[in-house]
């Protein structure tokens, strides 16, 4: 199974609490197939709080948006591997892969959140519907996620304006490609599916992500102006 095998679903079903849409809403029109707006600046301020000097240079709104797009995909992978490790339902190479790759995806999330600061999009609420608790479904989904992540980074590379941001993004992209090769090997597939990898547009990426149905509605656990019905 690759990301191309995931059936189609509606955006609303994917983005139950609006986090993905929030990320999309921050992308410039040139970067998101015409239905997204540009965002305000602010990255320079965030970066200045402890980032290397090269990163503190003024960066474009488009680059901020692309970093948030990347962060959204990293959230998905982070949550997926973290849940798999916590549930302890895997064994052997799949368990090792979840443990090692999960640690890397958490580091990617931290790096992106640090550089984006207050501009970082919120973490969506994920519902993996049990696929982290069975080895076959975990492996199939991991192949899809890693192939997707690799293609998604590639699909934005030409739109990144800052050479410094591009250098950082490529640094993550190649790691995602190695993850893809590893899980493909575990799945018994060729580590590289094709001799030439195509990038994937943002619209196509998000369509595929929402097709998973893994981004759920955040449970409503708070209520206002509702008289408590408790025994008192």
């Amino acid at each position: 199974m690759t990301f191309r095998d995931i059936p189609d679903l509606a955006l609303d079903e994917l983005d139950k609490d609006g986090a993905i849409r929030e990320a999309l809403d921050r992308l410039p029109r040139s970067s998101r197939s015409g239905f997204l707006k540009a965002v305000g600046g602010g990255l320079a301020t965030a970066i200045a709080l402890g980032r290397p000097p090269a990163a503190a240079a003024a960066l474009s709104r488009g680059d901020i948006a692309i970093l948030n797009y990347a962060l959204t995909l990293e959230y998905l992978q982070d949550a997926f591997y973290t849940e798999a490790e916590r549930k302890k339902a895997l064994s052997g190479p799949a368990a090792q892969m979840a443990r090692v790759v999960g640690a890397v995806e958490r580091a990617h999330v931290k790096a992106l959140r640090d550089v984006l600061g207050r501009r970082a999009v919120a973490r969506p609420f994920f519902d993996f519907r049990g696929v982290t608790e069975k080895a076959p479904s975990f492996i199939r989904t991991a192949v899809a996620f890693e192939d997707l992540g690799t293609a998604a980074y590639k699909g934005q590379a030409h739109k990144i304006e800052s050479p410094q941001v591009l250098a950082a993004a490529i640094g993550i992209h190649s790691v995602e490609a190695r993850h893809a090769a590893w899980i493909r090997y575990i799945a018994g597939s060729r580590p590289a599916a094709d001799p030439f990898d195509q990038g994937l547009s943002q619209a196509a990426t998000l369509r595929l992500v929402r097709n998973t149905g893994f981004v759920g509605r955040r449970p409503r656990t708070r209520a206002k102006r509702k008289k408590p019905p408790f025994t008192g």
Binding site: P52, R99, E133, R222, A223, K226, K227, P229
Partner: protein, 274 residues
């Protein structure tokens, strides 16, 4: 690794061939940009273009973040649809309770996750703590009836004898306060429960500024509206705390419930002991 002389010649020839390709490509890419191609010293046929060093990345990725296992981690999950909980992992087991997707307060209903099992047929079942009578009931529900998992590392202990509530985070006490509890006629139930919602901005000073809903239910007030669930809340009669003063709810001073509200996430396990 050592290479034979013949092998070295082959490698040098291959690199030289590649160098031609690089040089041509680089010179082409510099056309119109003011780029300058430099020939390598001692090379008369193949130009080696000096390329710029890669830029410093805008940010760096820290070391991989290993998951820190915690003995105090507890998982909860929202209920996606009304479901019958059973005494074992399968539809053939007897029903022990039925839970809906909504609480009487209109929030998402949730359960604590205690275990999981995959049946021979491949379906996944999850053992959960249930918000039903009798208190302390657990049961098995299909994984498909639950939403995404969430994790907390807190635990609230209410000691009825000491009239005291203590919140633990990662096993360490981070909050303690005196409480009012149920009278002898309407006792606060004992056992293992969990916090399932938080209500604010209601117009009823009797409950103070914040009220937490729990999975505990009064075994006496079964006909109470909304099922007689026990809450943790503030009060408009602080002078009664600590004491046996309520219909089963756990009352705290308003300042204490506000502090607890800042520390205790939804899904926190609740132990009430005599």
């Amino acid at each position: 690794m050592s290479l034979s002389r013949g092998m070295r010649l082959v490698v040098v020839a291959a690199l030289a061939g590649a160098g031609v390709g690089v040089a041509v490509a680089s010179v082409r890419s510099d056309v119109g940009k003011g780029g300058v191609a430099h020939s390598a010293p001692g090379s008369s046929r193949v130009g080696v273009v000096a390329l710029a060093d890669p830029p410093q990345p805008a940010f760096e990725v820290p070391a991989p973040a290993r998951l820190q296992p915690s003995a105090f981690e507890v998982t909860w999950a929202p209920i996606r649809r009304t479901v019958t909980a059973r005494s074992g992992p399968g539809r053939g087991f007897e029903a022990v309770g039925r839970v809906g997707a909504r609480t009487p307060e209109g929030t998402t209903n949730l359960v604590l996750v205690l275990g999981r099992e995959q049946t021979g047929a491949g379906s996944l079942w999850v053992r959960v703590r249930l918000p039903v009578l009798p208190n302390n009931t657990t049961g098995w529900v299909p994984r498909s009836a639950l939403g995404g998992y969430a994790v907390v590392r807190t635990h609230l202990l209410v000691d009825l004898g000491d009239r005291r509530a203590t919140l633990f985070h990662n096993g360490a006490a981070v909050f303690a306060a005196a409480v009012g509890i149920g009278t002898a006629a309407y006792p606060t139930p004992t056992g293992r429960f969990y916090v399932r919602n938080k209500l604010t901005r209601y117009r009823n000073p009797f409950y103070g500024p914040v009220a937490f809903g729990t999975s505990a239910r009064s075994a006496v007030l079964t006909d109470w509206p909304a099922g007689g669930f026990v809450g943790l809340h503030g009060t408009n009669r602080p002078g009664l705390i600590p004491g046996r003063v309520s219909h089963g709810c756990i009352r705290l001073h308003n300042r204490a419930i506000l502090r607890l509200a800042a520390l205790m996430p939804i899904g926190t396990p609740l132990t009430i002991r005599a």
